[in-house]
Symmetry: C2
Subunit: 201 residues, 2 copies
């Protein structure tokens, strides 16, 4: 992965990901993608017939990765609390690599919900297994139960939002002596884990 001399198709996909992430389907320009990939517009159409097709390729890859990192939740060899801690690590690693992806997916969903539900149907990875897994663990691991749906919403909020709003936080946090790419991200991650500990105390 990430070989220096990647194929043209890979370069196109990488460039398209970058531009589509930033501007969305409607705002993105094929010229911009071509420039980013270091080729000309005609080649884009050679590899992917149209803008829509190119977008589909990017969006599909994004969705796959978005759901892939939550499989640890289902690993019953660990206690649920440990799985959740691992899940938080996964999310922070994932969002560090693709900080805009959460926003990108949500944005496209809000514009075109039908497309999203079509695509999710064809995904093998099961989504949202967090709630039933939690309910199961309450019984099996004799944990004081709490509302699993609210917990899921809170947890995702705490993990995803700092990355969504990172353009804002990169400036804001600096004013308070924190460096986003340095300690701030790790401290935020720890605060999410503290929240989990609080719920499982």
């Amino acid at each position: 992965m990430g070989s220096k001399d990647s194929t043209t198709e890979e370069k196109v996909l990488e460039a398209a990901k970058e531009v589509f992430m930033k501007y969305g389907l409607y705002g993105a320009r094929m010229q911009d993608i071509a420039d980013t990939a270091g080729i000309n517009k005609a080649l884009l159409h050679y590899y992917f017939r149209s803008k829509e097709k190119l977008f589909d390729a990017v969006f599909d890859g994004a969705l796959e990765k978005y759901f892939a990192q939550m499989t640890v939740i289902g690993d019953k060899s660990m206690p649920i609390k440990e799985r959740l801690m691992q899940y938080v690590d996964n999310m922070f690693e994932f969002f560090s690599e693709y900080p805009q992806m959460s926003m990108f997916i949500i944005k496209e969903i809000s514009i075109n919900p039908e497309m999203f539900y079509e695509k999710v149907k064809s995904l093998k990875t099961q989504k949202s297994l967090l709630v039933p897994t939690l309910q199961e663990a309450f019984i099996n691991e004799k944990i004081e139960p709490f509302d699993p749906v609210l917990f899921m919403v809170n947890l995702h909020s705490l993990c995803a939002y700092p990355f969504l709003a990172s353009p804002l936080y990169k400036v804001m946090l600096k004013k308070h002596g924190y460096d986003w790419d340095g300690e701030a991200k790790d401290k935020i991650k720890q605060s999410v884990k503290d929240f989990i500990s609080f719920k499982f105390q």
Copy 2:
């Protein structure tokens, strides 16, 4: 406000808000705005000289409202915990009316940071007074101190994200028997207040 027979200019602004929120500056189409307002494109240019000018009008209003609802933080007639609870109410009310605004602002910032910092400079409302206010309260109200910056990030995450991701949650929550526009939003709000109580216990 919201009179049924609003002026054309008001209708244009309302339509522009809707379309710009959804597609952003680059993705939005003047034709789309005109259709939404129930007029033709030419009239848009009659009231606002250009697309950029129309966008500015929308964005300025958005920013103003975005910062306006946090002034309660500075109201020293109440204990800090009470102010925070009120602040959460404000945010949920605000985001209920403008669920996409947080995303809209962040998106535009990520595309064009310079414009944003230009605009913020010209705003009178002080931003991010949360951190110094908290530090002051730790002393004045003899509260067990915690990291105010991390608390700010967590709090904003818990409030803003559910609305950002509402296109997702509207479907996801329904599967678990919750109705977003019914009880779900109130329950999420309560969970945020629980988080505040946890930090101030």
